[in-house]
Amino acid sequence: MDHTYYNPEDLKKFGNIGEWEKNLADKFFSYYGDVFKEGDLTAREKSLIALAVAHTVQCPYCIDAYTQDSLEKGATEKGMMEAIHVAAAIRSGATLVHGVMMMNKAKKLSM
């Protein structure tokens, strides 16, 4: 057994999840493939969204995959960093906007 929870080699085995539940895995991968097809959003825009979300959910596999995918789709490094800042801004904003809830509660409790 490896001594780390995450192993880069495991990313290549993603498809193996179908070994224990093929029907649902097939549905997921088919859906996944369709999601990333070019639509109103370009394939590059979708890749950058995936990169930002990958950082939000802090998935090392996704960060690995979508760093590469963004570069392949022609994104600039600056653009990739901007995408991560969008994720960071939403994350920190989400924390801070709850401050209003805290303020409401504190005001209610206080004289």
Binding site: E38, T42, A43, R44, Q68, L71, E72, K73, G74, T76, E77, K78
Partner: protein, 351 residues
């Protein structure tokens, strides 16, 4: 400016060493399949040519640039230059065969002292299509090259130029400091005489290749991006963008090894192996000629010293189309770059 592997006496400057590298390691251990093992079950081994349509001449390895990924290991220190005698032999072949396209590459082919004579002769003799792979910065490198756009126009040359990205950052990291600026100027000078302009009949194509150990994206999407950015920022027009996958030989192979990307890159190429790209590989309709007149299946095999099969003739002095069209193409693991994804060739994606 970095130095060529050749100037550094690097082990990968040795062709046999490169071939050895591509046959050993992960491939010898059986961790990854070889190219032969992948194409054999498809009935493509031995790989056989179709009709020869492209006569690609590498007229010298000298170049004013030293790009980090260069498969030729070109640079100012390279002295290998094709002579006028060998060029004449090539012209004789072109006039006695039905090959339509002459594709001239280097190094910077314009640095060959007989370049203009050769192109003018090919044009005069009626070669249907003459492509020059120009690196763009050569046009402004020295006043003696400033009139190259006019020269190309006079000889109805199709210009094909590398520009790995539409910004200076990525371009200069791969091709050297200041290359983007020089390339933009070169493109504007080509546009000024009509290249890339609608209705001019003068074709200017760009070549995109990834600036690292990853595959090229969709050719049409990248072409749209390049057109929008180059037009918007620099008022530049061009015809087509060709995406080319970086071939794991020479300086790009050195980069892959030094950066610890070699195994992953090869695996990526193999995972992206597209069976339907095999029949469209460029070695099936191309013959490559080096500065000494030796023949190869492609410019990449040329750099690995892998000549055409002996029985098909190996030198321009014994050029025989029918024998060459019967040959077995020499393959190794670098060939995976031409069959990955949408396929890759000197004319871009093949699918």
């Amino acid at each position: 400016m970095i130095k060529s592997l050749h100037a550094r006496h690097h082990q990968l400057a040795n062709q046999e060493r490169q071939v050895e590298f591509l046959q050993n390691g992960i491939f010898k251990s059986g961790k990854l399949p070889t190219f032969k093992q992948k194409i054999e079950p498809l009935g493509h081994f031995p790989l056989k040519p179709a009709k020869i349509e492209i006569f690609q001449m590498n007229i010298g390895y000298m170049c004013n640039q030293v790009c980090k990924h260069c498969h030729v290991d070109a640079g100012p220190d390279r002295k290998e230059i094709m002579t006028r005698d060998t060029m004449q032999q090539c012209l004789d072949v072109l006039t006695h065969t039905t090959i339509k396209t002459l594709d001239i590459t280097g190094g910077a082919p314009e640095m060959n002292p007989d370049f203009r004579w050769f192109v003018s002769e090919a044009h005069r003799l009626g070669v249907q299509e003459i492509i020059v792979r120009s690196n763009l910065t050569i046009i402004t490198a020295n006043p003696k090259y400033h009139d190259l756009p006019e020269f190309f126009k006079e000889n109805n040359v199709r210009v094909c130029s590398s520009l790995p990205f539409y910004n200076a950052d990525k371009t200069d990291r791969q091709r050297g400091e200041g290359v983007f600026k020089g390339s933009i100027k070169g493109l504007q000078m080509l546009n000024e005489v009509g290249y890339g302009k609608e209705g001019s009949g003068l074709i200017l194509d760009l070549v995109y290749n990834p600036t690292g150990a990853f595959l090229p994206g969709d050719q049409m999407q990248l072409e749209r991006d390049f057109k929008k950015e180059l037009k918007g920022h620099f008022d530049i027009d061009f015809n087509n963008l060709f995406t080319i996958t970086n071939i794991p030989i020479s300086r790009f192979l050195d980069f892959l090894i030094e950066s610890g990307n070699y195994d992953d890159y090869m695996e990526k190429l193999i995972n992206a192996f597209n069976p339907s790209a095999v029949s469209g590989v460029m070695c099936r309709n191309t013959v490559s000629i080096d500065w000494q007149g030796f023949l190869y299946d492609c410019d990449f095999n040329q750099m690995l010293g892998l000549k055409t099969q002996e029985s098909s003739g190996q030198n321009i002095s014994s050029f025989d189309v029918s024998k060459l069209e019967q040959r077995e193409i020499v393959v190794s693991q670098h060939c995976f770059a031409c069959t990955a994804g949408a396929g890759s060739s000197c004319q871009g994606a093949t699918i």
